[in-house]
């Protein structure tokens, strides 16, 4: 299996705090990775680093050419701004296509179709005209997942996708993510607090601890 993401000898941290040193791993196409660990051990920083939002203190992050071409889909945690943002579901999902626009100012028919398709895939087509802030937590996550899928066909980076969801909706969300991995061959990189998640769903786990960072094969 070819690698979609190669990280070598990463030192993670910000300003003068070092969180983890010498982190190296290789994520293969179609794998399902869980990134786990206590708060403050570097998992969110790792995620931001592989997304290019922060620079590593040392080491390198390399996406395969294919991943660069298809784009990376990111499912962030909800922000305070979004809680009172007047935006329809369609507007939010369509914004996932922004990377495809380049300097073209408006979305074209193909991108609108892509957005509609991904809403269908997430089972939120009937919500398309609703206001994003009025949806339930689970519905909002589906909207953001549809947006992430508009940005990629290959790889999703998920930041605690089930935080603040109730148990039933959590299961549905996990099922949705697993099916994207299984049926569409999308590589999943998920930061999670759920101690059971790696064993249940993942092919690999990257665990951040106080001293050691280990990556292990699960399946």
């Amino acid at each position: 299996m070819s690698a979609i993401l190669t990280c070598s000898n990463l030192t993670l941290g910000y300003e003068n705090i070092t969180l983890a040193t010498d982190v190296s791993f290789e994520i293969g196409e179609g794998e399902y990775w869980c990134i786990t660990g206590e708060n403050g051990t570097g998992k969110t920083t790792l995620m931001k680093t592989i997304l290019g939002l922060t620079k590593p203190l040392a080491g390198s992050v390399k996406w395969s050419d294919e991943a660069v071409k298809s784009g990376v889909g990111y499912l962030p945690q909800q922000t305070a701004v979004q809680r009172d943002f007047p935006a329809s579901v369609t507007e939010v999902v369509l914004s996932g296509c922004q990377g495809r626009m380049g300097f073209r100012p408006f979305y074209n028919a193909q991108e609108k179709e892509r957005a509609a398709l991904n809403m269908e895939r997430m089972g939120i087509s009937d919500l398309s005209r609703r206001c994003y802030r009025e949806l339930s937590g689970g519905q909002q996550q589906r909207v953001l997942l549809a947006r992430a899928l508009c940005a990629t066909g290959k790889v999703l980076v998920l930041d605690e996708p089930v935080a603040s969801l109730d148990p039933k909706v959590t299961e549905e969300m996990y099922e949705l993510i697993s099916s994207l991995n299984r049926e569409d061959g999308i590589t999943i990189i998920m930061v999670t607090h759920d101690p059971d998640a790696p064993a249940r769903f993942a092919t690999n786990e990257l665990r951040f601890g106080q001293e050691v960072t280990c990556s292990c094969q699960l399946k």
Partner: protein, 288 residues
Amino acid sequence: MSAEMILSDWTSKLAEYLQFPFVRNAIIVGVLIALCSSLLGVTLVLKRFSFIGDGLSHVAFGAMSVATVLNLSNNMYLVLPATVICAVILLAAGRRAKLRGDAAIAMVSVSALALGYLIMNLFTSSSNLAGDVCSTLFGSTLILTLSDSEVILCIAVSLIVVVLFILFYNKIFAVTFDEDFASTAGTNARAYNVIIAVIIATIIVLAMNLVGSLLISALVIFPALSAMRVFKSFLKVTICSAVLSVICTLAGMLISILAGTPVGSTIVCADIVMYAVFAVVGRLAAKE
């Protein structure tokens, strides 16, 4: 006098005023400024930058005093660049800045206000300092004294602002809704934040003519806040706030011409009434 007579009296009075080119100019400029200033309202409210209008207009006030003291032929040459630079620093500084958000705006705003007034006091030769300061702060009659070249400049700048906004509309939405996602999707969020800052600074310098620097925030945020009470999509909110802003400004200006009230405060009153109406409509719609 019966209601009919008052009405016909008002109409004839209005017709009489509209024959003056400076009144027509003022109305054209007012409407354009209202249109521009409402466009970025939603973005600024949601980014928690509601007071940016106040902050930047005080910077513009400070720059204007310096320009007056230096006797520049056109104040704009100093006021616009100074305001744009401050806007970029405030809005685009990002999350790493030591001072940011409301604290930074408050600091920049009071400093500029104080320095501007101090400079005016120390160096100006004007015999009516209080009047000059008052009209800069509250707008008063400034808009009726615009020269033709200022009107043309204002029209040109407004058109540029509207065109830029339309071209960048989707990116502005994306960057406001989720900056991190926009960055990962290949949008240069920083660059767009700078563009937003430049547009807002330009609008504020323009709008100072209309309502003065103390009331500018009203022009920027009221239409957006009213529209947000009723509409649920970004496009509808944006269109609605542009329409509301134009209506309120037009109503405010006409009333102020007829009743002889100060332009700036009358426009803001129209905005307040509109907000109350939209708040009630929003409530009723939510109940259904």
